[in-house]
């Protein structure tokens, strides 16, 4: 991979120049949380990496959109109005989330909605984040990322290392070659290692993913599922904030005439009662315990066509769940109350 370095103070100028590749988006503060938003006023943009309320998936697999427009029984694809975007400030865990969604939406029957948005969105990643409580990327192996972005900025305090991950990323660099430096020296490498070590020491929580998939298999009949099933409020927030939750529902919305209308895709949630309900009334996951077990199976044991655990350790479920059901508390429960505190 092509790696360059850049002075910290040049980032703003570079991002200004990248606007020719699409609308600039990035994290801004909204009340007490950070959210990805369109950046018209540069002073709102948060330059250091932050955990946003929703992961970057909200821009690639949006909460709701039209997939088809129909007139009688003639259907037309709705792909025209997808804008080109440059999204700055995406942390490694969110990029790993995209890599997992990439496989799901691209394999077997490629999904044109996901693929078009992904192709029209330049991903500008950022590290090193300061781990907050609940950050588990180190445990999940998602604290570093080698693909899935166009450019990646490693924040090494005095300067950025800039990793060029795609041809588009390379084009973006070429608009302002004066801001980038090719000459990577031992000094840069030492600084990289120093910052990484400093970051690594700040993790407070960990999960041992070498055993958790097997623990999940062995815990199929564990009373833990009933316990958390009773506690769960079925709000669905965990699935909304999770970078690897892709489930969606499809609903037709006719116009007043009834003859024309839209077929829309909405985020769905496997924690909801109707998720596995079929016409006729059979519900294949009638209890909350069953539904929560499915969610945790996907996050901690196997998910998607590759059958690997899909948790990217972003910590959002830990921040979000109002009744403390999250990957940490579930693992703690499955291991019989022993949560491994301390450094990974």
């Amino acid at each position: 991979m092509r790696v360059l370095w850049m002075k910290k103070e040049d980032l703003r100028e570079f991002l200004e120049s990248s606007k020719q590749f699409g609308e600039l988006w990035g994290p801004v503060q909204k009340g007490e949380v950070y959210v990805y938003d369109k950046i018209d006023d540069f002073s709102r943009l948060i330059l250091e990496p932050k955990r946003t309320l929703l992961p970057v998936k909200k821009l690639i697999h949006p909460p709701e959109f039209n997939i088809l427009r129909y007139e009688g029984e003639t259907y037309k694809t709705e792909l025209e109005n997808i804008p080109r975007r440059v999204v700055y400030g995406v942390p490694p865990c969110d990029i790993h989330g995209l890599l997992i969604l990439d496989d799901l939406f691209r394999r077997y029957y490629p999904d044109p909605y996901y693929i078009t948005r992904r192709e029209r969105t330049a991903i500008l990643g950022v590290s090193f984040c300061t781990p907050t409580e609940g950050c588990l990327c180190k445990s999940m192996g998602t604290d570093v990322v080698q693909e899935g972005f166009d450019l990646f900025f490693s924040d090494l305090k005095d300067f950025y290392l800039v990793w060029v991950g795609s041809s588009l990323g390379d084009d973006m660099v070429k608009v302002r070659p004066d801001l980038f430096n090719n000459n990577i020296t031992r000094k840069h490498l030492d600084k990289f290692m120093e910052c990484k070590k400093e970051r690594d020491e700040k993790f407070t929580k960990s999960i041992d993913m070498t055993v958790i998939p097997d623990i999940m298999e062995l815990s199929y009949d564990s009373p833990v599922w009933e316990e958390i099933g009773e506690r769960c409020l079925e709000c669905g927030a965990c699935t909304m904030v999770c970078p690897t939750c892709n489930c969606y529902n499809v609903v037709d919305e006719p116009s007043i005439s009834g003859f024309t209308g839209e077929r829309r895709r909405y985020w769905d949630c496997c924690i909801f009662t109707e998720y596995s309900l079929v016409a006729g009334g059979d519900n294949f996951r009638a209890t909350r315990a069953d539904r929560l077990k499915l969610w945790y199976t996907h996050k901690l044991k196997s998910f998607g066509y590759s059958g690997k655990p899909a948790c990217v350790g972003c910590g959002r479920c830990i921040d979000t769940c109002p009744v403390d059901i999250n990957v940490l508390s579930v693992v703690r429960g499955l291991l019989g109350g022993k949560e491994k505190e301390g450094k990974s």
Binding site: T77, Y108, P112, V250, G281, Y305
Partner: protein, 282 residues
């Protein structure tokens, strides 16, 4: 049609309802043909596969194909009126246009079944996918050993394809065993018994060379599988086709997932071994 439609697997193709009639109080038979005749004649599919049927305004739902690929041109479905899409479908008249896309799913593994005996066990609406397999086997009769149909319904008026299956009793190359739980009219010409009682007529089969295909209401599987296992049919030769909620049919929407297995892609046909291995399948 614009270019993006062609590359979009979510776009239904227009198809015409060419014939429909009631199979029971709430189940209707539909013959449907792609408006595009070339598409109608060239579509390849396997027994056990399904299609997404779409009615603009009401939505989309998955339906097993009841016709056999050995008789190309028309697609047949038997549909119970239970949800929003099926209610809208039941309101449609002959010659109405619906949208269809597919075929999807793995279908029955014909390459493996060929050369073996075949026991087809049907309960209720399970006739929808299994009629396709039965007709396929009869149309390619030389490729199969002994073929059995064990078909159970609550009453004679609930038996789907009753006339069609009663006619099959005339055939010498099929053991057609039809039963009803109850016979209120008293003129039912076949068995009055649970479908599991029909297994006593399945005799002297070389079980190592026998496949079974089962589809019916969830409560039926346990008892039927018990019988098949007792006969000695290997677990991986007992096939069943399963129902799940589906919104896409192509492994994207997540609803049909069992563990990390997608019923729409890895299924809907599973073996009894799969079912033993993945506890949530049935």
């Amino acid at each position: 049609m614009n270019k993006s439609n062609e590359e979009n697997p979510f776009v239904p193709e227009p198809a015409r309802i060419v014939r429909k009639y009631d199979l029971s109080d709430d189940v209707r038979f539909f013959q449907i043909r792609f408006v595009d005749m070339e598409k109608a004649l060239s579509m390849r599919y396997l027994p056990g596969q399904f299609m997404m049927l779409s009615i603009a305004g009401a939505g989309e739902a998955p339906f097993s194909i009841s016709s056999t690929p050995s008789r190309p041109g028309l697609l047949e479905f038997c549909v119970r009126e239970v949800g929003e899409v099926t209610r809208a479908l039941f309101r449609l008249k002959e010659n109405s246009i619906v949208g269809i896309r597919g075929p999807y799913g793995n279908g029955f593994p014909l390459d493996k079944i060929k050369g073996n005996n075949l026991i087809i066990v049907v309960g209720g609406l399970g006739a929808a996918p299994l009629r396709s397999l039965l007709l396929y086997a009869l149309d390619n009769r030389d490729n199969f050993g002994n073929v059995y149909l064990l078909h159970g319904a609550r009453t004679p008026s609930d038996m789907l394809f009753k006339e069609e299956f009663l006619e099959l009793k005339e055939r010498d190359d099929l053991q057609c065993l039809l039963s009803v739980d109850k016979d209120p009219t008293g003129d039912w010409p076949c068995y009055v018994a649970k479908v599991t009682k029909l297994f006593k007529y399945v005799k002297n089969v070389n079980v190592a060379k026998t496949y079974a295909a089962v589809c019916g209401p969830p409560v039926m599987y346990k008892f039927v599988i018990e019988k098949l296992v007792k006969l000695g049919i290997p677990k991986h030769q007992i096939l069943m086709t399963l129902e799940r909620r589906m919104k896409c049919g192509i492994g994207k929407c997540g609803h049909c997932v069992v563990g990390h297995t997608y019923t729409c892609i890895d299924g809907p046909v599973f073996t009894y071994w799969d079912v033993t291995n993945m506890r949530e399948l049935i």
